[in-house]
């Protein structure tokens, strides 16, 4: 047994986190910043954070992830990192020539209280930021929230750093997709295009973190939200924020500061959440939904009805980030599956409330914890086994020990590919996810069934 020390008996822990279901803020900020065209993320802290965050993102995407760091030494940690940041900004613009540097912080610079607005302002005044180039920032203390919080903070930092309200609306619709895969961002753009909408998607990592091999390396690939779009976001007719944890802060900032009304929705995983997304897009954009989108929806409903017997009543444990897990729980319940054990490492009582509502509607009470960890999830599974486990790569240890079919979902996925290429959002994403779930369940049946009951046709 890999996790041989995990006991069945659950004791309360107040201080020790074991096998976290979250990581820290700056990696989310780094991921978000990679979704701006021509942007180099910058980590204002000691260099270990930056190395870890780049490595984790690289392992997840199998793609280059560039980011710079202030490389704090002990001296800077005591007396402030201002000089490090000035030097870094000058070196980055000279050597790497990005259009934007997006600075985030770590627990180090936050604890010592480095003043980013003042420091970035100083760099501009000292002429260290070339004409037409930009430095934006977000404070991302690692001891608050999780990587999801860091993502949200940097997305808000993009709005604050660029969006301008000229008073004249441009007829475009902002969509903040939240922390989803490049493939998901592509899918959101495809759906909006089918509906004939002119959208501003930010951040947008498609084309950045699912690139091609051509013999040429571009530190700043073609993808990413153009700066002109980020500026124009202030004149949009509305914002759809997908996911309360990931996207709502930026949308609300645009609402209060630029008078762009916003609608905060669940991430469009599964049938119902995608329905709400498409319907809201229709209303905000003042367009009608084309037959092609309705057809995709019908295909998903068709698959659910075709294979319902294999979903029905199956117990599921799932762990991940709140926006994703909420939408996924709803999707599973809509298939008449039973999400039983649900954990997110990211704090927030709204999470538990939403999950309770979703499962109560299905007629049962799930184990749910926000700010929980995978050690607890594993103990719950030991006490009440499940038919399917959904979560990031770290769940493979639980899946192997408990012999549970395992669907890789969320961040990070370190040991498989596909997440960067095939969407999980929208109706197409729903189809893709269901085929994977069915494959897991039926492969298990094929493995376990007796020879006389072994079936050719499902």
């Amino acid at each position: 047994m890999l996790l041989r020390h995990t006991p069945t008996e659950i004791k309360d822990r107040s201080a020790l986190t074991i096998n976290p279901a979250k990581t820290c803020q700056p990696i989310g900020a780094m991921y978000a910043a990679l979704g701006i065209h021509g942007c180099l993320p910058h980590s204002h802290g000691s260099q270990g954070c930056c190395a870890y965050h780049r490595s984790a993102l690289t392992r997840h995407y199998k793609e280059p992830v560039s980011a710079a760091t202030s490389s704090f030494t002990e001296g800077a940690s005591v007396f402030g990192g201002g000089a490090n940041l000035q030097t870094a900004i000058e070196n980055i613009f000279t050597v790497y020539e990005p259009d934007v540097i997006a600075v985030h912080t770590t627990c180090l610079s936050e604890t010592i209280g480095d003043d980013l607005p003042q420091m970035t302002d100083k760099a501009k005044k000292a002429g260290k930021v070339p004409a037409g180039k930009h430095v934006i920032y977000a404070n991302t203390p690692s001891y608050v929230g999780s990587h999801v919080t860091g993502f949200s903070n940097m997305v808000k930092g993009m709005a604050k750093g660029f969006a301008v309200a000229t008073g004249k609306k441009n007829g475009r619709v902002n969509i903040i997709p939240g922390w989803v895969e490049p493939s998901d961002m592509e899918e959101v753009k495809r759906l909006a295009a089918l509906m004939g909408l002119d959208i501003i998607l930010f951040p947008d990592t498609s084309g950045v973190l699912n690139g091609a091999l051509t013999g040429e390396y571009k530190m700043f690939p073609e993808g990413g939200t153009p700066i002109s779009d980020l500026v124009a976001a202030g004149d949009a007719i509305g914002t759809l924020a997908l996911g309360e944890w990931c996207s709502a802060d930026a949308a609300r900032w645009l609402d209060t500061q630029c008078k762009v009304p916003c609608s905060v929705l669940d991430m469009p995983f599964g049938l119902k959440a995608t329905d709400r997304f498409i319907d809201t897009l229709r209303k905000v954009g003042g367009v009608s939904v084309p037959e092609s989108v309705a057809f995709e929806r019908g295909q998903l409903v068709d698959l659910i009805s075709d294979m319902h017997q294999y979903f029905y009543g199956k117990k599921v444990a799932l762990v991940g980030d709140p926006d994703q897990v909420i939408a996924l729980t709803e999707f599973l319940v809509s298939l008449d599956m039973k999400p039983m054990h649900i954990v997110t490492g990211t704090p927030g009582s709204k999470f538990e409330k939403r999950i309770d509502e979703i499962t109560a509607e299905a007629g049962y009470k799930a184990n749910v914890k926000a700010g929980g960890d995978m050690f607890l999830l594993h103990q719950w599974i030991k006490n009440e086994p499940v038919d399917l486990l959904i979560g990031n790569t770290y769940c493979k240890y639980i899946a192997r020990d408990e012999d549970i079919p395992f669907l890789r979902f969320g961040f990070p996925i370190l040991d498989r590919v596909g997440h960067q290429y095939f969407p999980t959002v929208g109706y197409k994403g729903g189809l893709h996810m269901l085929t994977r779930i069915l494959d897991l369940i039926l492969t298990r049946t094929d493995r376990d069934e007796t020879e006389e009951k072994f079936e050719l046709v499902y």
Binding site: L16, T23, Y52, P64, S70, T73, Y143
Partner: protein, 546 residues
Amino acid sequence: MASTAKKLVNWTPTDVKAEMLAKYPPKVARKRASQILVNEALGNETPEISANVRTIPGIITMRGCTYAGCKGVILGPTRDIVNITHGPIGCGFYSWLTRRNQTDASGEGDENFMPYCFSTDMQDQDIIFGGEKKLEAAIQEAYDLFHPKAIAVFATCPVGLIGDDIHAVARKMKAKFGDCNVFAFSCEGYKGVSQSAGHHIANNKIFSEVVGENDAEKPGKFKINLLGEYNIGGDGFEIDRILKKCGITNIATFSGNSTYDQFASAHKADLSAVMCHRSINYVADMLETKFGIPWIKVNFIGAKSTAKSLRKIAEYFADPELTARVEEVIAEEMPAVEEVIADVRPRTEGKKAMLFVGGSRAHHYQDLFAEMGMKTLAAGYEFAHRDDYEGRQVIPDLKVDADSRNIEEIHVEADEKRYAPRKSSEEMAKLEAAGFKFKHYDGLIPDMEHQTLIVDDLNQYEAEKLVEIVRPDIFCAGIKEKFSIQKLGVPMKQLHSYDSGGPYAGFQGAVNFYKEIDRLVNSRVWGYMKAPWQENPELSATYVWE
């Protein structure tokens, strides 16, 4: 940024260096110039390089931090210690199973905490009011849940700043438990300039808190410690297989596939064999000073180097039976190695490699490439010191600069009861006269050919320039570099994680490596960069379907 448009036209190493520096602001160019060296080593003259100095902000370094060097590298591989990261969640999360230190916990009742990540997950109130109480509670909860032999605590950046006294908490809990050693490492990420400071901090504490704790006699003959071998991809397993076959007893590996008891018994060995000099030379020195155990540098990367290292160990013990057995083992193992070399060498001969790896492998792996007939054109370390480049004879000249001055140097004296010279001074003198070098490492530079490039703390910009200009057949570094190099159409081999392969140490490891490099440099994929319509000129007004 870069493209491969510029084709190389007989660049000299000096030109390459100049091109790497051309774009830098003057201050950066001056500093980098002292860390990039065209190897002009002749005879005993080794040129001087600047190393172990602070990283240039914004340069996109490959380096990590002190915590990574301490918790991630040295203590991470030990399976029966509960390692608690005291800090916000990230540091613990990122060092959770991401280094491939394999461990064999298959014995009855064996403990294995390596698949777990333990953290105090500090919150803002812990930053404001201090995290000592939470740390104490976390240690208690770990003890109650697991009853481990030992609990280790690792500081992260904010811990030093807010003034949590982790050592006081550790002492208190150790006294309270009685049957569980609790110790702490002040390995805040901002200390020193790289992972290297973390190695030193780990060496100090593991030596002062654990080494020598178990005085029970260990069975076996020809007892050695294998220092600085972390069992990535099973390297340590392969070395242990060979040692066992030779009849050599490995008391303690620091720290691949290790246990608490191995550390506690390390003073029972009669020789320390050092693989990774950078990370563990401190323990090697302290074992000698306190207990009288001499150390030698060995290298089990490369089949010939493995044979040479085994002979060196046998020569030290000066036992005819051991010497004969070592020769038998080499004779048994080499045919399989030579068979694979004969197969791959026609396809690898003359190919060019570049190696930029942590603090040790950029040197060791050159032996493997040489066995395949491949040349190393450029190499360097992320965080090695001048002695790893130039050899330990420069140590007296090393200046500890302001950034590393606060890394603790602990003073060790000979143990009154347990110090015992393993060899008489006459025996030592005789071995030295026969060319035996104790407590010495020659470094990377003397082993590299004339006019090769040596680059310390290589950054992203320089890596790209090197690859564009020189077009090596293979580039070796880590995960952060892998995919940008491959985008340029150049095969890239990770020499930290081995790209989930390995082992590469010892005889069987060498075979694995030859095959892997053959696969990489001769893969068909590198021929697919251009689509057919990109390679052929445009047609005009003709149909040519035949």
